[in-house]
């Protein structure tokens, strides 16, 4: 027993030594990140609601829901494929776990492409961070900030999926790492469930 252990024992009466909440440290770290990130997105969405509520000439530029519906379907389906990757990893089927992880990454890439295509269409109509042809310039700022933050998370997730998938296949990572990555990916999906109604559907042209 080391001196550090002795010192700890001496002062640890009534304290628990071991993982907090009895869950693995990496998983706890991911949950804490998710909680913090929830606050970031919530703050952005509340700020967006604040300026939308306070702007009488808030624009409603979205005429079609096809693109956003397709993006939603892709992201939801990618959550299912992520679950399949975890299931395969837990069952020890490395090839299947790798395959489902890469399918999830591919779905993420498809989502990002559709998102960028939508951005390009809005930009070509004259929408920037500071102005747009339809109403208050705050719309562009809030739209690009919120969807951009989400797209950044998706992009980070895609990179993580590829890196973790490859390292899992190579034996450097295990099923726990796939699970932790899955938590992140499902969170990205969860955020989109709030972005769609608040940023897109509430601004549909009538």
């Amino acid at each position: 027993m080391s001196q550090a252990d002795l010192t700890l024992d001496e002062h640890s009466t009534g304290l628990t030594i071991g993982p907090v909440f009895s869950i693995p440290t990496k998983k706890l770290a991911m949950w804490l990140f998710i909680i913090a990130d929830t606050m970031t997105f919530a703050a952005c969405l509340v700020a967006y609601g604040f300026v939308r509520n306070g702007s009488p000439d808030w624009p409603r530029p979205f005429h079609s829901i096809t693109n956003v519906a397709l993006m939603t379907f892709i992201l939801l389906t990618s959550s299912l494929t992520m679950l399949l990757a975890l299931r395969s990893a837990r069952m020890g089927d490395k090839a299947a776990a790798f395959r489902w992880t890469m399918i999830t990454a591919a779905a993420g890439i498809l989502f990002a492409i559709l998102h960028v295509r939508e951005w390009m269409a809005l930009i070509s109509e004259g929408m920037t961070l500071f102005k747009n042809p339809w109403g208050t310039g705050l719309f562009g700022a809030s739209f690009f900030t919120i969807t951009g933050l989400h797209l950044t998370h998706v992009t980070g997730g895609i990179i993580a999926l590829i890196v973790v998938g490859v390292r899992y296949k190579g034996g450097r990572y295990n099923a726990d790492d796939i699970e932790i990555l899955g938590l992140y990916w499902h969170f990205v999906d969860l955020v989109w469930m709030f972005v769609v109604p608040l940023v897109y559907l509430l601004n549909l042209a009538h």
């Binding site: 909440f21 509340v46 829901i65 519906a69 992520m82 469930m193």
Partner: protein
């Protein structure tokens, strides 16, 4: 391989995951249907937000497996998150003041 999850077993069926996925698809579709309704914007917001909260609950409980984590941890995540999210709603009256134009806003 050391797995930290006590709730997982190799024989766990995929049926529940598929059912939750289909529920999420239906709820997402419901949001699009609600968006096409010709109702007041605030009504629209509350209805879509309610559906989004149900969707988020399903995703957190089943996809992220919070429902099968230790009770103390699940309570910590839910109580802490909900408290801060509710606390963020503190400024809405000020947003309305901007529209109404109370004297001190000018």
């Amino acid at each position: 391989m050391a797995t930290a999850e006590g709730h997982w077993s190799a024989g766990t069926g995929i049926g529940k995951d598929l059912a939750v996925y289909l529920c999420l698809l239906v709820l997402a579709g419901l949001q699009f249907v609600i968006a096409r309704q010709n109702i007041d914007a605030s009504q629209l917001l509350w209805r879509m937000l309610a559906v989004a909260i149900v969707e988020a609950g399903l995703a957190v409980m089943f996809f992220m497996h919070l429902g099968t984590e230790k009770r103390g941890f699940a309570l910590f995540v839910v109580i802490f998150t909900v408290f801060v999210l509710l606390a963020m709603q503190y400024g809405w009256t000020d947003s309305s003041r901007m529209v109404i134009g109370a004297p001190f806003s000018k």
